[in-house]
Symmetry: C2
Subunit: 291 residues, 2 copies
């Protein structure tokens, strides 16, 4: 008889990553494919899982999505610029194919859960995870539960004070330069410099600006939720930028609130190969099995 | 035999309010007295409770305080400008007098819990409460538990973008005009106008500024935690200012995130006579009895 496995769907706006693992999170098989129409993309995901005996699946999706279990549109993709996907019943499409327990949340919540259970948050009771990439998002966990009363967090859109020398008009279509994403997402690097982010030297002023926003958001996160770990994932910031992020945290705090050692508090993800969300989904698949 | 009662200590920086109530939260007796030295003030509180058969006590204290049960300095007042109180073992002083269960938290958490259980949050699963008074503070609750991983929240010190016309240098000794408290506490009214807050007409520009900061913080709170209720207590803002606060929330959101009706989301406290913290303490006293 085939071994029972845990399933993961990391549904990104440009690509899907599907995977199965044993109950110790050892990946048995993993597949990536581009995000096209909902029908084609989900068919490919379903086809992947049909080759295994899957006990449960954790899904982390690009958003906005409805994660409220009691809601009529639970498991749907909500209004998104990707027109095909707006209103798509993601979870039900999976449920029709597989009558097994599933956990449905945002991609960033999945990453947060991965780092919480198996990454930088190992042993911690609370963690907030931010990703700075094409977009900026955040997910918060306290005592094993996501913070988010009636909806998932949209932490990338919290307001930030602009760096006094940063004159960029901002890259958020909703909040221009008033929010974290508008000033710290990947596209803002090219928006400011005209050059692709990956071609810019690490000591370019623009990374100082991004570190300023990350440090500010880390400070706000600490005064709002006091998590044991604040993790900055994504490709915009690198490990080498973390000292600057901590330095700006310190400037924003200015000695007000007592904190743990900032080297322990503000960290990069520790799950390798960009697998935080996949590992998180396995954890959520396991969690939903136990409930 | 005397009736078993619940006890409340609302320990403010300028005055203490102690009270006892039956298990339906009916106040049996309540006393206020000024906050002087820790020894004298606690002696007065203890003397009050000695006249009753108290089953448990909820304590909401001015801060910073150590609320981490596993900490060595749990129940202590931490470093505060009120020099006498710095390092004072508040909880132990009570425990020596009364060997009964006690819940120890911040004054604003107590108010949040009061509104959550018996006030504007009645029936809601999540709520964030802000108070705008001499200082600015916030407390958040989700599914009956305070949000705060390794410490209590200090939400009054989160950064805010200054109103473009607000040139005030700010009133926070740590963050000048970079934080919510620095721009929206009671003393900033006089700081800006030279006149006492209570003498200013409600259509004074300064209340527009404060509403702008409250609307901004409400928006940030919603994207960070998505609570079912956001309550603005304290004397700086009044019910008449709430429409403006909601209007600014709308401007900051700019159509990005779906919200409930803002008249339901952003509200004033509904417990009368400024008793949110006292009622909250009774609730916490009851909670600790059941644990």
């Amino acid at each position: 008889m085939a071994e029972k496995l845990l399933g993961s769907i990391e549904a990104g706006g440009t690509k899907f990553v599907v995977a199965v693992a044993d109950f110790d999170y050892n990946v048995k098989e993993l597949k990536k494919f581009p995000t096209t129409t909902p029908e084609k993309t989900l068919a490919e995901a379903i086809n992947f899982f049909e080759h295994f005996d899957v006990a449960s699946i954790g899904v982390g999706s690009f958003g906005p999505v409805d994660v409220k279990v009691e809601s009529e549109t639970y498991g749907h993709v909500l209004n998104t610029p990707k027109a095909d996907w707006s209103g798509f019943d993601f979870l039900e499409t999976l449920k029709v194919a597989f009558d097994i327990p599933m956990y449905f949340t945002t991609d960033v919540n999945s990453s947060a859960y991965g780092e919480y259970t198996k990454g930088s948050g190992l042993g911690a009771d609370s963690l907030v995870y931010f990703t700075l990439g094409t977009g900026v998002g955040g997910g918060a966990i306290q005592d094993g539960k996501f913070i988010g009363g009636i909806d998932h967090a949209e932490m990338g859109h919290a307001t930030v004070i602009a760096h006094p020398e940063d004159t960029y008009e901002g890259g958020c279509p909703f909040h221009s330069n008033h929010c974290f994403e508008g000033l710290a997402s990947g596209p803002t690097l090219e928006g400011r410099t005209g050059a692709k982010g990956e071609t810019l030297p690490r000591d370019h002023k623009v990374f100082d600006f991004i570190s300023y926003y990350a440090g500010q958001i880390a400070f706000n996160t600490f005064v709002n939720m006091a998590p044991e770990k604040i993790v900055f994932g994504g490709s915009v910031l690198q490990g080498a930028d973390m000292p600057k992020v901590r330095e700006y945290f310190k400037q924003f705090n200015n000695g007000y609130v007592a904190t743990p050692d900032l080297e322990e508090l503000i960290v990069r993800p520790s799950i390798e190969n960009n697998r935080s969300a996949t590992i998180g989904n396995f954890g959520l698949a396991l969690k939903v099995l136990k409930e």
